[in-house]
Point group: D2
Chain length 129, copies 4
């Protein structure tokens, strides 16, 4: 879709941008689904912190994916702060999911999405700071 954007993309690395947008939306979906799968586990009482991080990470990743998708009137300060928030949310959620990844496959899948998104945010950040 970004290939069809009518103006210049604002000097950002296009490949890293596309990778980061995709990672944000994939991570948002994984976190939403992981929160629901945790809710269906018999041991849900032990997974409440995981569910909370899932929900936060889903919200922050979705907002970040939207902000990155907008190229009109690009602002480096907002982009940088949003990417840092997204990396922080992904790190917290990935660390939490990784702790019970061996017991719950959905947490394993989600932890991988969080790591990938955290890395994509940091790689894009490195090109704009």
């Amino acid at each position: 879709m970004l290939e069809t954007y009518p103006k210049d993309l604002g000097g950002i690395d296009k490949d890293k941008l596309i990778a980061c947008i995709q990672a944000c939306f994939e991570c948002a979906q994984a976190c939403t689904a992981c929160a629901d799968a945790c809710l269906s586990e018999d041991m849900v009482a032990d997974l409440t912190t995981c569910i909370r991080f899932n929900l936060d990470c889903a919200d922050v990743c979705a907002a970040t994916g939207n902000v990155l998708s907008r190229r009109t009137g690009y602002d480096a300060n907002v982009t940088r702060a949003v990417l840092e928030a997204c990396a922080a949310a992904c790190k917290a959620c990935g660390d939490e999911c990784a702790q019970h990844a061996d017991m719950h496959e959905h947490c394993q899948v989600c932890a991988e999405s969080c790591r990938a998104c955290e890395q994509a945010c940091n790689e894009l950040l490195a090109t704009i700071s």
Copy 2:
């Protein structure tokens, strides 16, 4: 991710469900990007209705994708109403984008995403009504 869900999915057609979730999130992204691309067109003043439908469709598709991703405590009435709203938003946005698809490639791509999502919603609706 749905493969890892710990309980029964609630009697819904799993393939159509996965296809619809994917179509919703792809359409949300396409609409967000199309709204921004329209904003960057020199003739933006002629595209304000398109931008509005893009924004509505993005919001409704993202909400629908999230609702469908949650299988705990499945409720057919909510699912049906949400799918109908999503199909309506996709139809309106797809019709609008199709009107200037020959002038703007982003509207062409977006119209296709809207059509695909409308169809995926209607196919899933047919299995639960």
Copy 3:
């Protein structure tokens, strides 16, 4: 804010519109907070259906509040379908929360927000159908 809209609002009842937008955003907040309060209850395992309805209702109410806030290029079909989905989500969540409203004050508060939003959606629907 709607008072400052530069064009005609599209023939909709302005008072009912404002009331409905406000009810949608209040209900979205109440549902987000109720889901989190349920997560912190010792008996969280008995509240998973409630949490799921809370999350769905929060998503649908937020999307509905956004759609209603947009007056450019108003479309009655989309508005109607979205309001019906919102009323359905609020009814399901309100019914569920009401079942344990005597045990959890947050469910009592949330049930009232859901009822108010369901009613506001239905009143606005009556003016556009």
Copy 4:
């Protein structure tokens, strides 16, 4: 609603927390409505940067309001990064809206919401850093 939370709020200043949650959701609504009002102005072509900042700010404020509303499993690092992103989005949008606040009343109202939210984020940040 926070009064009904079943556990400790995590050592955060409750008054500043409530004020910030409220400011985030009010700012999200104002930005969504301002984007739509800008779309309806005859001079929309001069307001595209404003619309973009409105949409970003609405997304970031809504995500921040949701994160702050969740008290289960509180994490200071995520909260801090999200508040910084929200303050940055509000500053950018407030600065942009303020530039044409004398011409468009919706931009005046929105600029005030952005300033209030930026300040509420910074005040809450001061209590957790």
